[in-house]
Symmetry: C2
Subunit: 565 residues, 2 copies
């Protein structure tokens, strides 16, 4: 089982499918030339293949553990993390003023995909650290930036996000962790947080916790929440880790997967914290962290999907049952579907990242709106594809897929968290039909107009495929208008299938663009997607528009199985 970072596949998308090359024309990203990008992708690919992939199984078999309250990470994770940090892979997209390389998020996400395909458990550490870097960059004081960012960018220190509490998951505003001013600019933080990924680490010398808490005068709900920096060791005057803060890891969770990633219950008792951003401005800072992390999680789905698909293809070539099973029609159907879907999920994620970059580089509101619109789709679809492909890999392996030694089961066990964390996929879909359609469908319409433009342009070369794509985009446009006109609860009832339909239409668009390169294999793959997978959008749209009525009419008792007859 050898993972090979999909450098060429990513480069193809950056060069042909998403407008990455336009970034190099901006002042901000002038250095993101084709040569730089190629060099970076190749270098990151080698690191992922050689340093990270060998750790994946190790982390599953030898989970992180607590020893006298201290975290011991899985064997080899220390060296793996060093390879990430020393290669400069944490700071790829960070501000050069604080030790970053200032390259586009799109490139950062490409690297993140390769790292997560190689070893998801370990990659979570830099992913969350990057989320914190982003939040500090946008919201912290210059002093705090100067103290923390260089250490986080270099990987000397790592960062976490402390949002969830037992009673506050999706409903973050229900949190009870308290913050009290000490009068000297610091705050006392007291409370318990759960599901804290890499809540402690022996691969970095300090762990910086970004903790959501409520000040005494904080309003109920999300409006009264503030964000605090609560370091494991309080930096001394030289900025080095000093005295231990009043916080600890209470326990680690026993999880279905990502065993190499410690998921901590954290306890803060009068811990010392520093405000990040404004009082009661925690949600804004949290959204900065989460937006980056959301796309990052979508990318994780793509990474695991690619790894699982590679394993499935390799096994299908080697396994003989009435000849190599890769020659069997149904196995081929499964593999081809997965290959087409991985291309789509990867393209959506990279398109999202490029929109984010372009918005930053040009301050263009349309680009920002597109990035915002695409983010929940990238997260949900990327992770759905991750689960589907990991599941398919098990099925292709037959009985061997159920045996842990092959590693096929691990991919599913690991990736299964991705549709849940950083906002469940249901929440992503609600964000899409709620907030993201609150512009009256403008961002959606702009996207679909481009899809239809591509379809028109492809009419000559691929009349049947182009026709299908055009028709799908038109139907989705109509459904979008209908969605905008409905009340929010009816939209929510159809949110997930609406998101699915949108992802399929975007997928068909990207495949059509790939076919336009003229490469025979790309044309075949586009045909497979557009004739086999795209048509499912129609049923998605039927369900998207079904509304709340029948779901409201069925009772809880009936859902539990108790009917009158």
């Amino acid at each position: 089982m050898t993972y090979r970072a999909p450098v060429d596949q990513i480069a193809f998308i950056l060069n042909h499918i998403v407008p990455f090359q336009k970034l190099a024309e901006t002042e901000l990203f002038a250095e993101a030339t084709t040569e730089t990008v190629d060099a970076i992708l190749n270098e990151a690919g080698k690191m992922a293949d050689n340093e990270l992939a060998p750790l994946n199984r190790v982390g599953d078999l030898t989970p992180a553990r607590l020893e006298n309250g201290k975290l011991r990470s899985s064997p080899g994770f220390d060296a793996g993390f060093r390879a990430i940090a020393d290669g400069g892979w944490i700071s790829l997209a960070s501000d050069p003023d604080y030790g970053g390389m200032g390259l586009p998020q799109a490139l950062n996400m490409a690297v993140a995909e390769m790292m997560s395909g190689a070893c998801l458990s370990l990659q979570l550490n830099p992913l969350l650290t990057q989320g914190q870097i982003d939040a500090l960059q946008h919201h912290a004081s210059d002093e705090m930036k100067a103290l923390y960012l260089p250490k986080l960018n270099s990987g000397e220190w790592s960062g976490t996000m402390n949002l969830t509490e037992p009673g506050a998951g999706s409903d973050v505003g229900a949190l009870t962790t308290k913050a009290e001013p000490n009068g000297d600019g610091t705050y006392k933080i007291t409370g318990q947080k759960i599901f804290i990924t890499w809540g402690d680490s022996d691969v970095t010398e300090n762990v910086c916790h970004a903790v959501l808490a409520r000040l005494p005068d904080g309003a109920k709900g999300t409006k009264g929440i503030s964000l605090f920096m609560v370091p494991k060791f309080i930096p001394d005057d030289d900025g080095n880790p000093g005295v231990a803060n009043s916080l600890k890891v209470v326990s680690l969770e026993h999880k279905m997967g990502i065993h190499g990633s410690p998921t901590c219950v954290m306890s803060y008792e009068d811990a010392t914290g520093w405000l990040i951003g404004k009082e009661h401005g925690g949600m804004a800072a949290m959204f900065t962290m989460m937006n980056a992390a959301r796309l990052g999680v979508g990318v994780q789905g793509v990474g695991v999907a690619e790894a699982a698909l590679q394993q499935a293809v390799a096994y299908a070539i080697e396994r003989n049952q009435f000849g190599p099973i890769i020659r069997h029609a149904d196995v081929r159907r499964m593999l081809a579907t997965a290959r087409a879907e991985v291309f789509v999920a990867r393209s959506i994620c990279l398109a999202t990242a490029v929109s984010t970059d372009m918005a930053r580089a040009t301050d263009d509101a349309e680009c920002a709106a597109r990035a915002a619109f695409l983010t929940p789709i990238a997260k949900a679809h990327g992770t759905d594809v991750g689960c589907r492909v990991a599941d398919m890999n098990i099925q292709v392996h037959g009985g061997m897929g159920f045996i842990e030694e092959t590693g096929a089961a691990q991919y599913l066990r690991d990736v299964r968290i991705t549709p849940i964390y950083e906002g469940t996929n249901g929440i992503q879909a609600m964000d899409l039909v709620g907030r993201k359609l609150s512009d009256g469908g403008e961002a959606a319409t702009r996207l679909l107009d481009e899809v239809m433009d591509t379809a028109k342009a492809a009419q000559g070369d691929f009349p049947d495929l182009a026709g299908e794509v055009w028709r799908a985009a038109e139907n989705l446009l109509e459904a979008t208008q209908a969605m905008v006109d409905r009340d929010l609860q009816d939209r929510f009832a159809g949110a997930v299938p609406y998101l699915d339909a949108f992802a399929r239409v975007l997928g068909a668009w990207f495949h059509l663009r790939a076919a336009q390169t003229g490469d025979a294999g790309r044309v075949t793959l586009a045909r497979i997607y557009i004739t086999r997978i795209l048509p499912r959008y129609a049923a998605d749209l039927i369900e998207a528009q079904a509304g709340l009525e029948d779901l409201g009419a069925i009772t809880d008792e009936q859902l539990a199985g108790a009917f009158g007859a």
Copy 2:
């Protein structure tokens, strides 16, 4: 987390959806009266709830293990198995001449669903024992029947199926295990078998292995295979376990799930065996075993789906995030979809069982053809629904779904084997479009004619729903004819989506029948299925008819991700 056997839900289907009551009109099943059935379902339900459900988590946490070559099953499994055996639940459908109760398979499958929902790992033991009972009943000599059947029916002994070898999974004919005549009517069996469920047991005093092997004059492939009885302890003259046979458990597999069910690598070295049925007639006997087991595995999917759905509903009622999450539109959509799908999967399994029973009771060829046609659908759809609902349960639990303590992950880890064993779902679909359509589509057409009859009859009460169902059945009928007219490889390429479409249309049919009872909840659930889930058949049929061309055109290298551009 408390599983409650769905006695009323099963009774509703037997009373209103499938023609179970016609069985009591036959001579063979005259005892299967409504009173008997009610008593049996209630008794079995109590046993499942009280004796088996408490073992489910225990088996996951404390897997079966080998101790000096001896199997030690999970704590409490011994008592659990006794409850099953002593309740007469193994022999429910067995021949009364050998200690069975002679009741219909439909009832047996209803009980099997409850047992598998309560504790899948343990239920596998009686399921495989029943498969062996069936094979002996049909193929063994009277002497062998007299020796083995009473012990198997009483649960003093258990039975296994030894088919798979490292190089012979779906391709059973590739097996290399040898059988040599000893000249005294016995045979020497030598070879290695893998994936042997409950290949050893400390809950029964003997384990009877039904082993596929090839005689010296056996042809290559499946035609040269014979089936042998190879008991762990050779019965003495009194029929009691005597000297140990020359076989052993080499190791147990480390699996993704069903940890309480030991999956054994078995080694036979000049072990003593007795021929079951005719020389080179092993495949026929194996198909008898597998046919019963196939339906049984579909039922396992239903059992776990019901258990997982009950857990999801209970959690959604209790968990508050902006109010109880069961009030959220998307959570409700997931739960309602699952409830509608569980009803469908259960109905298909019970319809299959009733057809099998009716075929036996009346010797009617149409009933037999229907049972044969429905079996692969029952297996594949039942297990697909099992996986979908277990996955949904994790999603409804959010982060808690990924934590092993809740048990949500276990349902998915356990049920994930069911689309694989007893013939992968891909193989089921190939059986459906290959062998089961080799009658020119006659069995399919008869079924769809009945669907259309129901739709016509429901036209007055539910015009919109009936119209949808009628249209879907008509389209499926056309697609079936088109399928019959294609060559086998093109059929295989569309086998899985064809099976899916058929399951959806059957599902809509059963829901329409449920709605015809007039119960308001049933009508709502039927509406949910027919307006939200049924429409997906259209895309299934598009893919079913897409043929092999594009799948043949894409290369292995492209599937692996290597394109020209």
